[in-house]
Symmetry: D2
Subunit: 338 residues, 4 copies
């Protein structure tokens, strides 16, 4: 429920209502604005009715939040959220490009890629230390050693670090090594993991859509994180599973446009997993720009043939330079800047 | 099989080989180029081997066509096909916009829309006279009366006509009324219909992808039309059926980029059916431009609320003007012109 | 709308109401029962209201048909329809087995299979003369020659013939050769084909579910045939297209149980296409029996390796004997007979 | 790699080879049989080649395991695994029925259901204490209090307990309360959870297929558990996500038959989630029996209308009695016993 206060309402008026909300076991929200203060009350429908807000003269308007998701909804917050990844802004008037290898493999590999990205003006590095792999016999990532390498790359090149978390117990550990937790498609409904990054950190969380998750389920997964205490969520469309086998997944750009209308959170696109075909990454990156995404996250590798995972879809240094040149005029057409 | 002749080969050399190809029951293809003449031979692998092309001194190179589709393949023809719709070009350096109502309903309706489109610089009008409807109790279209209205709109406004064919027996009848046959998603594998427009006409055919057809099946359906004698095929991605229900279909822009690499035929996008949500048509149209599509086909209606079919996804005159303004900078960014 | 007449209503009372229904342009239905006569009126909601049935004293009860499909609905007819295929009954207390090759290839092939089936007690032979193939370069069937062979098998072995129709123009031609038209998955929404077998014949029609058709769309496709005049429709689940690639299709037995509740028409299962894997045909046939299907249609071939189409999923004579033995106790458990 | 020893090989011969396997960092497996001893070596292909098994005279035959999954494969173990759930056997010649409420709600609710199940001869009770819910605002389960109630039901009625685990940290805690961990569809690829129940317990694990997981991915998820040390895995098909909306999921019985051929693990079916429609549970349970499943797991509730979750698909006491009577003749037809 959204509670719009009158222009003349004082902070004390707001607090009085917030106390009432909390006293009933509901979740109170305080959203001061330039002209008006807006309050929120989240919880059970029947309890919400017990608020009797008509008794508060400073309440101007009451609006229910119709969608099943609340905190992520544009009904609650109309303007775009801009999320900080170690100080770098994602969302708003920026088109972000996050790049890096699927897996962290060695210092040589990671520093080589970091240098290349730095030269291209990239400020955020992705790289997996913990890899969720379909087979227990596949390379599972370097673990803490990988995190150390990421931290070293951060210090050496000033890049902000995006890395995947797969265990709720790692939330605290990773906090010092990274600037943004990534939650992968397979873990989108690993609710304990969502709660862990929501409760134990205020660092940004890049939440990828599950491979057969509906848009509503993605928004409710984001709601778990924010409800647990961390509002810094970035969504990511990475392709859904369909009958088509020519591409690894079917990138759902409908979902990106739809999400931008329903939520105030930034929405990125992962064209590497979304297509699984190297030659399709550029056209789909351009399309992601044009559809209104807030950025892309792409896999790069200086020697894709020797990559320990996902080499077939990794861009080389030359490929990446071409990609950046390729999307530039489209970013300009949106009025955003890289 | 593709047979590249030497630069000094004469037309007679080519004919000799073509005769040999035909004599074995194979399909001969003659593709003269500026520098070299290229021949094709299509048919059973085992028979192809009986050609013994090493016996012809003017043959420079022989290449197998690896894909199951041949005539539509870029392996056979590397450059883009540009298809004429009543003289208007689709493909190449043009971004085409085809617009009009789902169903032709009346002269007033059709002329009103036509005038609006004309003012927006649109040259191709879509409108259904024969409607394939899920229920036998739904409006089935005006039939020949609808075709008459389309013809009248063509004469009055100079618009080229795109209209759906659903019965092989209508191919000859429709020929005089329209400039481009549309084959709908439900009929993509109605092989007798594909053969009918292939054999009985040389007018353009806009072939829509079936709602659960793979990209390869779409290309093989196009192959049916060309193999039957009509090379003027335009492909159209219109959304596929997935688990997601927030949108009517999932527009597969991966497929558009993939098709542009595999075939020389133009590829359009239908964002109206591809999303089924009016507010998503503009962002997905921009994305279609950026991904490399050769155009879009959109549903428009001056009074969507009174439309006899698909009113919820039809753009009004104002919506349409906004759409055109919206895509303009993105078309410019591709280097194409509207 | 369903109109239940009072027990004492005469045939003249019924006719009076039927005339009124027809006079308004609605479709009248006459369904005399042992105790009561039931009438039906189908058409536009607003016109239905103009019937003013309260003016007829012999009307006992009026019930709307809530589903979008009417003639196929159990709301209209509660008891199971039993459909005759050349005198052999499908539906009710029988579990039917239709078998035969994917394509008719030669007299030797067809007679060999027919003899084998006859020995197994099978009475209905399937075999394609017109084949809808994904590629124009694949074997397209023997055409009329194939129909002649099917007719010969009918005469020689007394088998009833089930064969696919792919062109509305063939409805009359095929009528003399076959006992049951088959409409394949790709043509489920080829509405002109549905109308052709509905208008031009009263022979049974085996309607297969499209590979991404919803259950409701299947029922509406059947409604097209019955609405056009032919009530003898048999439905067939043959697998839907999903992300799973271990099997050719995903056989949807949920749909069979759901259909049996919603419609009075018989429902068969095609485990050959539904799995595409020979070793899965027996277990899924048993499951089809148990879920309540009215029969199965399976592909058989005496030399699967030499089959011109679908050889990998065809059962040999031995396989088929095993299948029959395998399903027998499960058919007994349902209380039906083979 | 599977290593078949000669009949005359001694235990010492086996140990020698197992030591060699282990010394190279490969995983050794010891599978003594009545006539022959079979050994296994799992790990990197290149290392496997370094075993030089031709040097061991007691090695009779060496066979590679072709599938990507090894420990779960029938290539490794041809005979059916029978898994103990607190002493009750699942798999082999038994058809198991596990039943109970979606969520544990109260002692009254749980004991009521337990008594009813006991009367029906059921020995395994399912009930969720930790519920993975799409929305953070939905009932999340009673947690440890729920586990206490389950333990009480075990003591009172002698039922074996099956309950869902959603956090790797709960593996040890739950060990004392339950007889079988359930891993839900959303957590099928929560690899840390798979490892937790694999490493920290030897109790049975019921692993449900993810809603868009391929069969191979399910087998590899099971491989994670066994590879971590716990061989007692039971698989469960619970419906996959497709375009069809008439049912909550599409129950994939193809997968059950396919799994029974590829793996030695027992395979159950969950017709409650697999259909989401109460009236479809019985026919699909019968089909599950007939297709060769080793059992079913169904949701029951004495007052479905008051259930805190999934009430619409829960069977009442009467429904459940009907279900048991309904499947009985089909179980008999398979030669198994309830």
């Amino acid at each position: 429920m959204i509670i719009v206060l009158k222009a003349e309402a004082s902070e004390q008026d707001a607090n009085e209502i917030l106390d009432k909300i909390a006293s009933l076991g509901l979740k109170p929200l305080y959203m001061p604005g330039v002209e008006r203060t807006v309050l929120g009350a989240l919880g059970d429908e029947r309890v919400l009715r017990q608020l009797h807000l008509d008794a508060y003269p400073m309440v101007d308007e009451i609006k229910p939040i119709l969608s099943p998701y609340k905190l992520v909804s544009r009904e609650l917050q109309a303007h775009d959220s801009v999320i900080s990844v170690g100080g770098v802004k994602v969302g708003g008037n920026t088109f972000s490009v996050i790049a890096g290898p699927c897996s962290v493999e060695s210092e040589e590999q990671l520093f080589g890629i970091s240098q290349m990205l730095k030269q291209q003006g990239i400020t955020m590095l992705r790289g997996g230390a913990f890899k969720p792999r379909t087979s227990p016999y596949s390379f599972q990532g370097l673990g803490v050693e990988g995190l150390e390498l990421l931290k070293a790359a951060r210090e050496e090149f000033g890049l902000k670090i995006v890395s995947e978390i797969i265990d709720p117990n790692d939330a605290k550990l990773m906090h010092d090594y990274i600037d943004c937790y990534q939650i992968g498609a397979r873990n989108m409904q690993n609710f304990r993991l969502l709660e862990a990054v929501g409760e134990q950190s205020d660092k940004a969380v890049l939440l990828k859509r599950g491979m057969s998750a509906t848009i509503e389920e993605l928004l409710l997964a984001a709601e778990y994180i924010i409800n647990a205490g961390n509002p810094n969520v970035i969504l990511c469309e990475r392709g859904i599973r369909t009958f088509e086998t020519a591409t690894r997944n079917t990138l759902d750009l409908n979902a990106v446009a739809y999400l931008k209308q329903k939520t105030h959170l930034p929405v990125l696109v992962d064209p590497s997993h979304g297509t699984g075909v190297k030659s399709l990454i550029n056209p789909l990156s351009r399309a992601s720009v044009a559809v209104g995404a807030d950025g892309i996250i792409v896999e790069t590798h200086l020697n894709p043939k020797e990559a320990l995972s996902d080499g077939h879809q990794a861009l080389t240094a030359d490929d990446f330079a071409t990609l950046m040149a390729d999307i530039k005029p489209f970013v300009a057409a949106t009025g955003k800047s890289l």
